[in-house]
Amino acid sequence: MAKFAASLPHVVLAKDNRYTCSDQGQELIKSDVKEHKLNRVVVASCSPRLHEPTFRKACEEAGLNKYLFEMANIREQCSWVHLHDREAATEKAKDLVKMAVAKAALLQPAEEIEAPIIRKALVIGGGVAGIQAALDLADTGYKVYLVEKEPSIGGTMARIDKTFPTMDCSICILAPKMSDVGHHPNIELLVNSDVVDVKGYVGNFHVKVLKKPRYVTKDCSACGECIEVCPVIAPNEFDAGLAIRHAIYTPFAQAVPSAYIIDMGICLNKDGVIVCDKCMKACDRQAINFEMKPETVEFDAGTIIVAIGADIFDPSAAPNYGYGKYTNVITSLEFERLINAGGPSGGHLIRPSDMQIPQRVAFIQCVGSRSDKIERLYCSNVCCMNTIKDSLLIKEHWPETEIYVFYVDIRAYGKGFEDLYKRARKEGVKFIRGLPAEVIEDRKTHNLWLIGENTLQKKLYEMSVDMVILSVGLEPRKDSEIIQRLLTLSRTQDGFFMEAHPKLKPVDAATGGIFFAGCAESPKDIKDSVTQASAAAARSGILMARGKVTVEALTPIAYPENCNACGLCTKVCPYNAITLNKELKRIEVIEAACGGCGTCAAECPFGALTQSHFTDEQIIAQIDAVTEQDAEKKVVAFCCNWCAYAGADFAGVSRMQYPPSVRIIRTMCSGRVAPKFVERAFARGAAAVLVAGCHPGDCHYINANYQTQKRVERLWKKMEQQGLNKERLQLLWASAAEGERFASKIREMQAMVEKVTLEDVENAKKVFEKALGGG
């Protein structure tokens, strides 16, 4: 590789080196820059999304403007995805380096502009993670808006009886934090509220929150008189439906805020007609107000922490365990409410069928985890330890109870976990490897038969217990998609939010100024949630403390001499950062407002605009480099930095294999891809061209990728008119999570490329030869 690189024009020094990202590696770069007076640096290694900042820093320290650095992604997008075709992989790597060098030759130094950061934070979700993050930020002195969709903060932790491995009372340790939130001068608590709109960018978000009416005013003293008289009842969500609540209720004793709320879904008073006024009559403080309407609260925030938590798997999706059919089959969450002294049974573990204390109890693990049958491939992390904790709770109260735990593997990975596991075994809890194939109820006794295979003893078992507890897993919130869309985030295939980097940026979102805490990012226990929350708080605190954010120098460069003031660019700019000065017949760019997508440059028909660091010349140089040899065998791919390119990286990280014919040119946004780039690729004989970006609506630059679509469609039309096979130009929407989607698209295109004849290539060359001018 190094040898090949050295042979390239402009290259004066090429070195082979392991771990260039390490300190030594960086030192090497610095010294070489100084020693050889280098004015450009190219590193061929991993993805720029991972280490570009590292190397840019090194260059800067060596006195080289960081915009004079370029990277060739020969790992995620080459070696890792062509594991079984070393030769082709090597050829591709050469191309990638050649492209990088070609671009590097044309790089220009640039200065970054700075934007101020609003010193206020939005925390979405009031579970333990949201609570911790909010308190940390508020204690640091930042104003925090904590938005919770339920009537009270507390989340899932508030519903759990004891925590593992320490066995302390969950609500007892949470309640003080909850009331701290309620009283904190820096925290504005918005419960029963949804985030409905977020505009802006890192440091300058504008947020709209819809506050749903409570129908109970602040005057409520939570005396409870109204509940006494309310004639409408429903199962209480907080108690997992094991206890009732009234239409007017408080979710639970320690709720914050403690004010009551009316469930209009079941209240008798509809259409503004008060049919039943018992609560109104019972309330001395006249705190009940059926005229309350939803209100929209608007505010600005510099950073956002997403802590929306996780849903609990509904085991009726796994019918073989009879949940929802057999009353004595309960979930681990229902267990928590049963064993909780404040719960519906006053802390007595009773089986619903006859309210008797069970003698034989079975726990079934991995219900909703690690199963392809129900498409929950991941491990939910908390279930093993939760079951162990629960089994010990039973032993504590009813030592005689026989307890069987059916598991796949016991994962006691955390601090103090193994001790707890051992204790359970010592207490006589029986662990049987191998989940039951099914659970069958005895109609008369309502006892439950478990049938399955003990995979250690290679023996079938068939046993009857009084009660079965399904150790249910965690899954992404149903409304994750909404938050994803509002904040332009990406999610893993499991559906949990994806961090900017799994190792080095575990709480940052790819989108600047947004961070994750708790189960929103992946299933985790209370301790990890709190840890991550504090981390997220710290990360967003860093941004706000600095008070300003530097915007990458990716803004447009204008050539007024070419501009004839047509105003097309002003129309496509998603940020209205370009205005048309009618008097002076030219355009003006507001750099601070510019998001850096470059779609204006792609739109300009007169070459009066280009994007700094992604200039036409640079991109054309890359195209030319790709098409120098065997163009007719290659696919030129333009991928946007945030989705498609990240998706390709993800394919690499997951070692998804695809044909080596593709050469990826990175642009910030697919909206940067000017028709002339595509035309030039064909004019130089490329077999096919791929333009790939974020899904419509998920564009990192609001809506710039709608321009991409328009332009590609125009090209298709042209190709059809000219009798070309429009299949040769492909458009792909792939999110950062959709590595497989990217890979399969390449496979599909490869099949098509093999059918492309030399004649086809020549026709295309003719049609587009005009595109050869310039560059």
């Binding site: 259409d271 503004g272 007609v273 008060i274 049919v275 006024d277 109104m280 059926f290 005229e291």
Partner: protein, 285 residues
């Protein structure tokens, strides 16, 4: 068995006058029901209460309420009540009458009592027409509505009563329909506790007379219209609260305080009396 049944509110009604003369589905009975309910909730001293009514179906209400009551000539209940209230300010004087009585023939008395802020309370049953005389057009008949005197559709613009009341200076103005019985009862309680001139418009079904001429043959159809069209909006602009087929804005429009006419009058009397020297035993107050 049913004959011995005693309705909890029957003590507020004159047994001899029951059952009332109103048609099936007529809202007047509901208004009476809410009124006595409010009195019951407030535990009002019936001896201090005077119910005054005018002419029209609802005019009979004075005879039904088991309290001091007077059934005046057409349009004059407010004028009569003025005499009662000034002569004995201790009395709580409530005028319950119809839209024609209060706003056509009696309109002048209404606006002037409101202007003076006389401390009487007015509850108007608005049934959009003259029911007692067989369904003629009145001051609240909607445009295009059919009545026995607008056989081709009404071309007169109706009064927006809550707007009229607030513009005239009423210190409490509310509108409800007979479907909003709870709020109406609460509203009447409030009305009875105000010092100044207070007004509640009750949009009330008149299926037999008005409804059948306007494609709403039963009380239920009219009540369903109220349910469909009503929007509860407190303290919205009364000027924008015209009643239409599509929308009936209900709620409180005005709730302010200013000294009542009788209060100011008796203050003056006290002041003048002091200057003139003590008067004799025949003093009014």
């Amino acid at each position: 068995m049913s004959t011995e049944l005693v309705h909890p509110l029957s003590k507020y009604l004159r047994a001899a006058m029951m059952p009332h003369i109103w048609c099936s589905g007529c809202g007047n009975g509901i208004i009476l029901n809410c009124f006595v309910q409010a009195i019951d909730e407030l535990q009002m001293d019936l001896n201090r209460l005077v119910v005054v009514s005018g002419i029209g179906c609802i005019g009979r209400v004075a005879g039904y309420a088991n309290t001091n009551s007077f059934h005046t000539t057409h349009g004059r209940p407010i004028a009569f009540a003025t005499g009662v209230k000034l002569a004995n300010p201790e009395l709580e004087v409530v005028i319950i009458s119809g839209d024609g009585d209060l706003f056509a023939i009696g309109g002048n008395h209404f606006i002037h009592a409101a202007r003076r802020n006389l401390g009487v309370k007015v509850i108007c049953a608005n049934n959009f027409n003259y029911g007692m005389t067989g369904g003629q057009q009145g001051p609240t008949t909607p445009l295009e509505a059919f009545t026995t005197t607008t056989p081709y559709g009404n071309i007169e613009h109706p009064f927006n009563l809550v707007h009229l009341a607030s513009a005239s200076g009423a210190t409490y103005v509310a509108r409800w329909t007979t479907l909003h019985v709870r709020r109406l009862t609460q509203s009447i309680r409030k009305l009875l506790q105000k010092e100044g001139f207070s007004f509640i418009e009750v949009v009330s079904p008149c299926p037999e007379i008005y409804g059948r001429q306007n494609k709403m043959r039963t009380g239920l159809e009219m009540m369903e219209w109220f349910r469909r069209a009503s929007v509860v909006e407190h303290f919205s602009d009364p000027a924008k609260a015209e009643i239409t087929r599509e929308k009936i804005v209900v709620g409180e429009f005005v709730d302010t305080e200013k000294p009542s006419y009788e209060k100011l009058l008796h203050e003056k009397i006290a002041q003048v009396g002091k200057e003139a020297g003590k008067w004799g035993e025949q003093g009014a107050s």
